[in-house]
């Protein structure tokens, strides 16, 4: 990871910018959304591999900074939503794509399903993902 940051630095022009955009684990909220509004049904459970991945990414950037390769210009967070039409589609997606870093506990799934059923015909489910965006300037 640190090697890649050095390689990116090599290809950047003087004062070039590196944008680091990625999700960070933070017990992402599960929500049911419809034309009537949205409700929180619970939170996902962060998994050790995902937490370790986040730590490794932060550590790599800290190391690149301490090497004198980059300086942080800006950093912020925002919400990014993943949507599914049904709770079962959400669960299937998580089991196939997110199993290493987020877990949908059974009680959260049940509550999500109950809220989805009662929320009306246009109800969908979503996960509110915490996104990090940081802008680094090449030194």
């Amino acid at each position: 990871m640190v090697h890649a940051l050095g390689e990116i630095r090599r290809t950047l022009k003087p004062n070039g910018m590196l944008i680091d955009l990625r999700p960070v684990e933070d017990r992402w909220r599960v929500e049911v959304v419809s034309s009537a509004g949205w409700q929180v049904s619970g939170s996902l459970t962060d998994q050790p591999i995902g937490v370790a991945d986040d730590e490794a990414a932060f550590k790599a950037m800290r190391e690149a900074e301490s090497n004198g390769w980059y300086v942080k210009e800006k950093e912020g967070e925002f919400d990014f939503f993943y949507y599914w039409d049904t709770p079962s589609e959400m669960r299937e997606y998580m089991q196939s794509e997110w199993e290493d870093f987020e877990k949908l506990e059974e009680d959260v799934y049940r509550k999500t399903s109950a809220l989805w059923v009662s929320a009306g015909a246009d109800a969908r489910v979503r996960v509110r993902v915490k996104m990090l965006i940081a802008v680094w300037k090449k030194l």
Binding site: M1, L18, I19, L21, R22
Partner: protein, 69 residues
């Protein structure tokens, strides 16, 4: 320059405001989709990793690591 460009969904957004865009990914299936969907002459995709970027030094103004660090 975009590392881990995937199927290019974010790359298209940058492309509108850039003179030249290079996307890298090691996933050949994703690259195939990105190339098939590409409508821009100034956007190029390569099978490469950020550990060995196939460009000379001081080529790019901006590098984007999206979902990849």
């Amino acid at each position: 320059m975009k590392s881990v460009s995937g199927e290019g969904r974010l790359t298209w957004r940058y492309a509108a405001d850039a003179k030249r865009v290079a996307g890298f990914d090691l996933d050949r299936d994703s690259l195939r989709v990105a190339r098939a969907d590409c409508l821009h002459d100034h956007v190029h995709f390569a099978c490469a990793s950020a550990n060995h970027i196939p460009f000379s030094k001081e080529t790019f103004d901006i590098a984007v690591l999206a979902w990849s660090l």
